[in-house]
């Protein structure tokens, strides 16, 4: 019997899930804070911003599931129980496929939300066009993973430009933190484009993602430590 078709981005058998768990926590903190502001001032920007980070958090939850399903397969193989666990193989493959797709859908949706907020795209046609191209990207990326990351590199480039302009205008430490974090996410996505060439690109991308989300957490801690007016 041949190896089951495994779809996952994880190559470090669950160890990278620790990084992803940290990203989930940071994303949830940012999402919650933005939602709290929305509840008071009722400005849609904050609601969409909250959804964007919530989407990123849930995306990484699916990535953890996707990574862990590979770990599960390896355990079975090592125990040489392939025939005994044949049924289990099937549902775990489905789980692996669903979590892999959900990770991609939600991850792209999260950054697309951020993109639409900052470019202030409010026309339905514009939004639908972006959603359409994102879905096409996800469909293609099932077999060509680099297309997914290449699309993110493009979206991220716009975000980085926006955050750089924002930093240039404000010249504050917090706006620099955000600009820096998104620049690092951009580089990490660029690194993920080359996953197929060598697993080290995956490791580099994960480390950079960790650095980016540590910076976003630092930004959150810094603003929380501001003195009350």
């Amino acid at each position: 019997m041949g190896m089951p078709f495994k779809l996952s981005l994880g190559q470090f058998y669950g160890i990278d899930s620790i990084v992803e768990f940290f990203i989930i926590i940071v994303s949830l903190i940012i999402s919650y804070y933005s939602h709290k502001i929305y509840k008071v001032i009722k400005e849609n920007n904050y609601q969409f911003f909250s959804w964007a980070f919530l989407s990123i958090a849930v995306a990484f939850l699916f990535k953890i599931i996707s990574n862990l399903t590979i770990l599960h397969t390896i355990k079975i193989e090592k125990a040489n129980f392939i025939i005994t666990f044949l049924y289990e193989y099937e549902w775990i493959d489905i789980l692996n496929f669903i979590s892999f797709i959900m990770y991609k859908v939600l991850f792209i949706a999260g950054f697309l939300f951020l993109f639409l907020i900052i470019t202030k795209t409010k026309k339905k046609e514009g939004i639908l066009l972006f959603v359409y191209f994102s879905l096409i990207t996800i469909l293609f990326s099932v077999y060509f993973n680099f297309i997914f990351h290449l699309t993110l590199v493009i979206i991220m480039s716009y975000l980085v430009m926006h955050f750089y302009m924002n930093y240039k205008t404000l010249k504050t430490r917090n706006s620099f933190f955000v600009f820096f974090a998104f620049l690092v996410i951009l580089i990490s996505e660029f690194s993920f484009v080359f996953i197929g060439l060598h697993p080290l690109f995956y490791l580099l991308g994960e480390v950079l993602l960790l650095v980016a989300f540590i910076t976003l957490l630092l930004n959150q801690i810094k603003l929380q430590s501001q003195k009350r007016k």
């Binding site: 001032i41 911003f49 501001q226 009350r228």
Partner: protein, 89 residues
């Protein structure tokens, strides 16, 4: 003059209420530099979120700031930094 963001208008309204305790709507309009029409959605949202309260005193409609409103005003600096750091608002 730069147009105020929604966040800044809310800060201004709450600051006026904090400084003046009980305030008539006409006074709020004048102090916050808003029109009669533009102030209404702000007051509705703030009341709905329990940041301000409407009271009646000898047939006059007055507004007061609540404890939650005080908390929001204290948090305003943090909210502004969050909003600015991501270029929101």
């Amino acid at each position: 003059m730069k147009k105020r963001t929604k966040l800044e208008v809310i800060r201004d309204l709450l600051s006026i209420l904090r400084e003046n305790k009980k305030v008539k709507i006409t006074h709020l309009i004048y102090k916050a530099n808003l029109s009669n029409n533009s102030i209404k959605p702000y007051l509705e949202d703030l009341s709905k979120n329990k940041l301000i309260e409407q009271i009646k005193e000898s047939d006059k409609r007055l507004f007061i700031i609540t404890e939650k409103g005080h908390d929001f005003l204290n948090e305003f600096n943090k909210i502004k930094i969050f909003s600015e750091s991501y270029g929101l608002g």
